[in-house]
Amino acid sequence: MVDIRLKLAADEFIRYLRSSTDVKEFHIAKGQFENDPAIEKMRREYTTLASAYQEKERRGTLTQDDIAGLRAVQKTFNAHPATVRYARAQQTLIMLLQDCNGAISEDLGFDFAATAAPTASC
């Protein structure tokens, strides 16, 4: 059970983070990325092609056209403005959070994020 003083300090920190340009931009970019119909269409197309790719690879019937088709969708997906914006916003956010984590960890004497992060599953 987290005590109230800790929660209040966390809430103040969260408030400052939420009001930062980087966090706002991340949420906007994420929303656009997740709700863009063209992105959604490409995702579905990619999933279908990737699944067919794996099946053909397993059967040994993979052709250069299959590889080129998958790469083309991937390339268009990566170059889409919503993807680019989201990827940039995520990268900027990560840099901000790492800086904050550095400041927190300096006072704790150990890495806060590495300790507090959910246990990774492999």
Binding site: R5, E12, H27, E106, A113
Partner: protein, 132 residues
């Protein structure tokens, strides 16, 4: 971790101050203080330290043998015995319990932050590293 002077140039002062106040609240928490006290006791207790070192060495030997597929029952028993000796030591018992309690508190804090921020703070901020 980035050097402080560069961080101050990149991060808004109030966010940095918020980070520091948050860190201070953690440092002042009962869980952190208990862990600090237990860590100090461990540092000042050579016999407990020896038990910990013995266990770590036994564990390392066992894991190496296991990775070669050559870990024997005897080695497994030796490791278990070393573990039990370690856990029976009051200094080490307190150290591990306080560590578990503090880690749990930090994880709960991160869950709270994640809910309010809409992304996993610690998951994104932790250093990139290999898995397993």
């Amino acid at each position: 971790m980035q050097p402080s002077n560069q961080v101050e140039e990149r991060v808004e002062p109030r966010i940095l101050e918020g980070s520091k106040r948050f860190a201070q609240a953690i440092v002042e928490s009962t869980q952190f203080q208990r862990f600090e006290e237990a860590s100090k006791r461990l540092r000042d207790d050579p016999s407990a330290w020896q038990l910990l070192t013995d266990f770590q060495q036994t564990q390392q030997l066992y894991q190496t043998a296991q990775s070669w597929g050559g870990a024997s029952t005897q080695e497994a028993e030796r490791m278990e015995q070393s573990k039990q000796q370690m856990l029976a030591n009051p200094t080490l018992k307190e150290y591990f319990e306080s560590q578990d309690e503090m880690v749990l508190t930090l994880k709960e804090l991160n869950v709270h932050m994640t809910e309010k921020l809409g992304f996993d703070f610690a998951g994104l901020a932790k250093p990139a590293g290999g898995c397993c």
